[in-house]
Symmetry: D3
Subunit: 238 residues, 6 copies
Amino acid sequence: MRPSGRELNEMRPVSIETNVTKHAEGSCMIRMGDTHVLCTATLEDRVPPFIKGSGLGWVTAEYGMLPRSTTSRMRREAAMGKQGGRTVEIQRLIGRSLRAGVDRSALGERQITVDCDVIQADGGTRCASITGGWVALKLAVQKLMKTGQVVSDPLISPVAAVSCGIYAGQPVLDLDYPEDSEAGVDGNFIMLGNGQMIETQMSAEGATYSRDQMNQLLDLAEKGVAELVAAQMAAVNA
Amino acid sequence: MRPSGRELNEMRPVSIETNVTKHAEGSCMIRMGDTHVLCTATLEDRVPPFIKGSGLGWVTAEYGMLPRSTTSRMRREAAMGKQGGRTVEIQRLIGRSLRAGVDRSALGERQITVDCDVIQADGGTRCASITGGWVALKLAVQKLMKTGQVVSDPLISPVAAVSCGIYAGQPVLDLDYPEDSEAGVDGNFIMLGNGQMIETQMSAEGATYSRDQMNQLLDLAEKGVAELVAAQMAAVNA
Amino acid sequence: MRPSGRELNEMRPVSIETNVTKHAEGSCMIRMGDTHVLCTATLEDRVPPFIKGSGLGWVTAEYGMLPRSTTSRMRREAAMGKQGGRTVEIQRLIGRSLRAGVDRSALGERQITVDCDVIQADGGTRCASITGGWVALKLAVQKLMKTGQVVSDPLISPVAAVSCGIYAGQPVLDLDYPEDSEAGVDGNFIMLGNGQMIETQMSAEGATYSRDQMNQLLDLAEKGVAELVAAQMAAVNA
Amino acid sequence: MRPSGRELNEMRPVSIETNVTKHAEGSCMIRMGDTHVLCTATLEDRVPPFIKGSGLGWVTAEYGMLPRSTTSRMRREAAMGKQGGRTVEIQRLIGRSLRAGVDRSALGERQITVDCDVIQADGGTRCASITGGWVALKLAVQKLMKTGQVVSDPLISPVAAVSCGIYAGQPVLDLDYPEDSEAGVDGNFIMLGNGQMIETQMSAEGATYSRDQMNQLLDLAEKGVAELVAAQMAAVNA
Amino acid sequence: MRPSGRELNEMRPVSIETNVTKHAEGSCMIRMGDTHVLCTATLEDRVPPFIKGSGLGWVTAEYGMLPRSTTSRMRREAAMGKQGGRTVEIQRLIGRSLRAGVDRSALGERQITVDCDVIQADGGTRCASITGGWVALKLAVQKLMKTGQVVSDPLISPVAAVSCGIYAGQPVLDLDYPEDSEAGVDGNFIMLGNGQMIETQMSAEGATYSRDQMNQLLDLAEKGVAELVAAQMAAVNA
Amino acid sequence: MRPSGRELNEMRPVSIETNVTKHAEGSCMIRMGDTHVLCTATLEDRVPPFIKGSGLGWVTAEYGMLPRSTTSRMRREAAMGKQGGRTVEIQRLIGRSLRAGVDRSALGERQITVDCDVIQADGGTRCASITGGWVALKLAVQKLMKTGQVVSDPLISPVAAVSCGIYAGQPVLDLDYPEDSEAGVDGNFIMLGNGQMIETQMSAEGATYSRDQMNQLLDLAEKGVAELVAAQMAAVNA
């Protein structure tokens, strides 16, 4: 019944290739089916002005799509002279989500910037960015710990995200683009490794949803996040 | 235990004053405690290019805060040369939420722009904007129907929104600013008059939440929205 | 002969409601007929770089119109990405005019920003902004003096403004929008309480004026300003 | 008593050199003492959208200062990414003033853009721009009439402008920069050739002025404009 | 003597992987040593306004660097709100160079946009963009020809580019970043497959060069371009 | 055969008028035929942040065209809100070229900004800007040396530039606008007084060039630069 032939509760194949660029302190290419996002983590010995002197660190994120990552070419945001509203929303979400898994005091006065650039898009790019972004972040932090600059691990838990929605009347896990463009209701679920929730964003366009449906989607999301966390752990321990 | 002395499940006093400006097709001043938002609805006989000729109408929204609506003065966005990320996020949410209650085919090829301008802020401005925005929208639509330009009512249901969060370990309804700035978890719940959900945005900064807590907040939200819908009905039928 | 039925030298009803917002150090809503402007004064313990260390204070102003303050909706300047030329002209005029009534040395190194936001427009918004802006400024200064932060009153005189013009061949006082859009000649007259002039801006589009006519308009302006100053005094002493 | 040794009612030497650039339909270099402005008039067979089909023409103006036209270098507005508030004010004034001398129906649906670029500044650049701009405009219109594209002269009168102010307690004509930077009160007076007034902009910073003083300045302005109109006539009839 | 141990006239290893993204009509990843650029070609059935109706096609290019493609993180141009001067220069060069190899009349009224996004930078990104960009362009054109939309091949010749410079007093081919940042003289040489030149950009910062040296660099460039053209041919015929 | 009747290797008449503006530390108007560029040099006792404390000086340039310097009016870049790509390219080239003739250590921690503003354009504006810009720079440096602020001359050589191209199949020197708009190949050649090269920019649009042709153009350029250097010397020693 799903265009891809997947079961209702079946994720797309996930792969996370680490250390894909020579300059970044941490990096990975995450592939969720045909959605491919390059995530890099940059470490800097400075923090934003509003926390200078606090002893706390900062984790932030930026997001972009290559112009031809999509079916038809999007205008390049740099050429348009600004980031669109959707881009700003997504990068704020990525930053906020990753910070929920960070002990900023253990990190110390350092900033880590996670860049998530979509190389190829097929739905779910923000979720892939969070899941892959955490891997890049973890790799950068591992370097800090190996050199002894940071002693106690600032990453208290993995952070992963998955989308779920109601497609053709059925709750489905991990929507791809053909599903996403048809679904009347869909949401993004961001969780820690232990299933505690960080952010829930459910949204209906041209439809509504009941609490029962919301609970079904949450069940799917818990299953999906558990699988993603396993993939993250495999990647960072490889 | 709440700074305002309210019960955990008690809303701030709500008032909705209609027809507060002589030019707009629909308008109201909504006051949720010390949060005051002026909502106007502007009717235009044109639609955005992407739906021209479709026979469908469009509802969109813009949001702004007066520079001194807040405790300390914010920079004026017009003077800064752009709307901030938070503003863009909020106005997209208002537009999306209002459209969920609209039969765009019954509206016909018309656009209604809902402007929500915060005169005084004390937490919950986006929820007040949605709730008041729907009233302004309804008043503009009533004019269309009175003149016979529109025959079947395009507003299939009221749309209202309320925030809930976990403050000092307790789930509370309708956070004011002192609560909002302390709460580790808070969310916005947008619903139709019958309790069907349009959008759920829960977010934790420096904390997480369990499914049990999420369910408690949903219970509170349903109570709050029911009260807001009653106030909306009273206002538009006055 | 005037659309409103007023005498040639008759002002619209003026009301000035003070302390209309809880956050600002000074505030008022000024209503000149159907023109309503919310004026707030914000006090800050810093001055612009070009007078740092001079011992002098600064008073500046910003101006805006809500998108639907006008007959047909204007585009929101924040969304357009810049303040229009008319807005910039007006806010520079407001700031310059208010400073003419300030002893900046008595104020000390503090900045007061007066925001004038037009809630509803019916002609004469810049004059209403100056007249109401002075009231907001005065209320903020009164707080500074009550707490002893400022000892000698930095406001040496009230500042008020009124428009006059030639409508249907006759000199008239305080033009409303129907008059303003027809008048070939109109001007703004900004004065101190004693009638000394701060700024005169007379302008003809599609017409010209003689010195005789200019003198007639000045006579009207003196009458109008005297009435406005009385309203200001009543408001700040209430 | 004036830094330049001029009499109180004495203008700087004025020269207007015509046809100084080979591309523009009309052009001149106006020199008022050390203030030099290059004025060009560009003729186009199109009008702005808001008058399309009305049969009326349009005259508009743009103003700029070369970065090192001033004592110390100003930042280039093109590099800053916007025209400053002062620039916008001035170019709106130039356009408005020139239009006051135009019979837009005789001009027909054509646009003339007058560019005023300050090559060297020593006070009074906006007045020089209006006076020189009118000459460029006249030369362009003469071409239109010579070729018979326009039959009845659309320029009903010359338009000229001069500044006056109160310097060291005395009313003076045509302020240069050393006077302008000291004067507490100064104004710009724009008139037709017959002395009818188009625009009066008097402004005090750190001072005020009485009606008596205003009348003295108007007397000076009438003298100055008469001399400028004579120079304009000599230039265009050369 | 070169940091990489290469001979003076030795290129870095070149690889061109084709069809690397599923959406674009043509794509490749070009790797010149550690410089990796993703090139995509987008085909659209429209042309820019200035050639509408001419029967001619258009080829244009855009260029960008991922923020962490470089040793230290660059600011994201979309977030800065504009493309820097260097970016604009480079993308104009890429477009101009590719057009030199195109018979725009054979292409017909179509536009092909070549996006060159630097994934990892180690010197020579503009040359890699041109060389890889031509491959993406060729693959898109092959699709047009296979479907018969275009009959005669619009690509009259391959276009390739290489940099040469004077490093430590010696002329060297294909500078990598360590060489590029030290070289006082360097240039980019863009040629057709037959060695005819399209563009030569030689530039010295803190040094100069003689005609003899220029001739030595041209010899190197001819050798380099020949090798690149061979790699292009292998890629597109694979 | 050339539209102007010049020989293939004949320059347009060159004149360089010095000290044309009273404010700038150095200035000239350079005229190459009908191309007229006003060049001013501004001296400031500060350097950009990236060389602060290095003991080195900086020379930079900005470029602009008056809107009606061209056959048809160009939009004013300040009004458009940004400098176009061509402007940015040119001003970077001017700055880079002038710096090649500067001993920045002899200059000391000072910045000289060279503004090149095109008053009238007829081809070759960037070359005229470099040649005239050097004269303005030299005059400013002479003042520094006369007052003893700088002891050893920081200008190690004149810098001059000329364009050459292939017009109607023939190599020609110093293209004017009618030639430039037809030439398939043209280039800019920037050299020191002794003929050493600083920058070579050859570019073909809709054509290509051989090494033989390139050598012919270089021969022409050497002749042209020698004549320009003679004119520069005459100007600065006048």
